[in-house]
Subunit: 355 residues, 2 copies
């Protein structure tokens, strides 16, 4: 167990790194953020910051030497850098979880090997394999780059054959997968943590809505049966155990009309759909992640209140003063100077008596 | 209203400054802490820090120039320094609240002038006035220095006449007051905030226990009638309005056996007996203070859960790993390296369903 006063290294200085640093501070732990130069939201609240490119191996080595354990706040940190750091200090969750979640094809194959249902998919390496994939999967379908896609970027919908060329141009001819459209009833996610002792703590799955490919709201708990919630947790558990995972994971799932569950993707980190835990639980997903990677006992994931979290995207944050005045609303702003379209600027959570 | 991204100056870098900085960060506000050199708990989580003595007027001026509004985390900041800063930037709550609360005699006279009941007291300037005060107040009584007393320091109990000389030596011959012993049934406090628009938000009064002169536990709500809670809030309101106060105040009160209320003292800042609001309310006392001094609307002070807060004093913090494992417990550690006797190292809050 890392004692209070120890330093946690965080790769990435966005809002997730910021909220991890705030959670670490509550426990008397220090944080050292590593991120590329710029006004990083996490830089305002950490003890120390290294501004360097992730590919700067000398900076990675110095960072590893300066901290007691390392984690990452987003899954697009280069694996080679994380491997270099892992030669010196424990990186949690491990390199394998990072490598798989960086690549949609590896991720889908990993899920399939675990017997976890997913949407139908096929690998796309060029125009020929795309045409074959369309035949295999059927239309409509969605073309997604294997790497560096998030918040709806690197995706193109193919409604009919006339869309195929445009879609291929839309993803810039990158290695991709074609995914069949899933008619789902609702989207849920499982936010869970696994500790170094193998204990797993699950928050009750929230129900999520998206807008323009970006998470819009999460409501906890999801309007699903207890049985379905348990089934969703078991799928998550299979991933955690296979990866010998330590830390918080976010697993996105679709609930179909017949009650079947499909896993969409997982994020090896704290997850936007778990932000409501900051206000509705004694121990938030951020503190839970800090506890897990430091070898502390996991906290109680019980919910004291029901919650509805709404993201503040782009200029919707300009409404902050009205949001601050809403009774029962917990406002969180990330300290980003510029409200660009599609940028996550903050979120607001409303609490309700526990159902 | 100070927009997100503005910088709050905080005089003092202890745990209260630290928790204020964390609350400001949640709202996208920056903090700049001013405190004497040393390992200040607040220094780990603020954007900027000035290490200087409070008497360093040049440093005070530079600090005022660098921030948008100023507050203080403890009441023993020199008034002259705060006045200097107030020439340049708004200091909230104001200089007057600070001046009065620094001096037990001014404070008692202020309360008396407002018609607020207190324990009987008399000013002590030397051996002669002490002897006269003993005759006036009766014994047992407690001798308290007018200035710089907190957590039971600068106090000496006088049980009988033989104790008088020792007590006078015990307080180092400082200007003092002699206070009559109050037989109280319980101790409560009112934690409230007044905004720039004059709105006042009260948390439900907690019930407090002390050990060795230091707050030990706060339980919210206190086991008192709704009528008594309202009466306590009204006493607090009188103080807030008279001082044209902006920010959070903590007013300590005694409840006597007949239901009468006496005000013991007030602190012009966030208060230890309000720490449970971090976990049991949507908007904590720390965020409430930040909102008030920045001209934001006050947050909803409603409690979603009942709470019991216990301070971790001195080496009781060594139990941190067991505390972290307690279900339903929210652990807060202040990042202090050395667990000296009587030092507040952290606190733990347990939540219970709302009564």
């Amino acid at each position: 167990m890392l004692a209070p006063g120890s330093t946690i290294g965080i790769l990435g200085g966005g809002q997730l790194g910021r909220m991890l640093a705030l959670a670490a501070a509550r426990l008397g732990l220090k944080t050292h953020i590593f991120c590329p130069p710029g006004d990083a939201p996490g830089s305002h609240v950490c003890d120390r910051i290294t501004y360097a490119d992730y590919e700067d191996m000398a900076a990675c080595e110095a960072f590893a030497a300066a901290v007691d354990v390392v984690t990452f706040e987003f899954e697009n940190v280069p694996v080679a850098s994380v491997e270099r750091i892992a030669n010196h200090k424990a990186v949690r969750p491990g390199v394998e979880a990072l490598r798989i979640s960086q690549d949609r094809l590896l991720e889908k194959n990993f899920l399939v090997q675990l017997g976890i249902p997913t949407a139908p998919f096929a690998a796309v390496t060029g125009a020929v394999t795309l045409a074959r994939a369309v035949l295999q999967i059927g239309l409509p379908a969605i073309l997604k780059t294997r790497r560096l896609g998030y918040d709806g970027r690197g995706q193109a919908i193919i409604h009919n054959e006339a869309d195929i060329n445009g879609a291929w141009e839309g993803v810039g001819g990158a290695l991709s997968i074609l995914e069949g459209f899933v008619q789902f009833e609702r989207e849920i996610s499982v936010i869970a943590a696994r500790g170094q002792d193998g204990a797993i703590a699950y928050y009750d799955p929230p129900e999520n809505t998206h807008r323009d490919g970006i998470l819009d709201t999460s409501r906890a708990p999801a309007a699903i049966s207890g049985q379905l919630a348990e089934a969703a947790k078991l799928l998550c558990k299979r991933i955690l155990i296979t990866l010998d995972y330590i830390g918080v994971i976010g697993v996105e799932m679709f609930v179909l009309a017949d009650g079947a569950l499909l896993v969409n993707e997982f994020a090896p980190r704290v997850h936007n759909s778990g932000h409501w835990t900051l206000d509705a639980c004694t121990v938030s997903q951020f503190e839970q992640h800090i506890r897990a990677i430091c070898g502390w006992p996991l906290g109680d994931p019980a919910r004291h209140s029901d919650a509805q979290m709404r993201n503040l995207i782009g200029n919707s944050v300009e409404n902050w003063s009205a949001l601050a005045a809403e009774p029962g609303a917990a406002l969180h702003l990330y300290g980003k100077a510029e409200a660009r379209a599609g940028r996550k600027m903050g979120h607001v959570t409303k609490l309700f008596p526990k159902s």
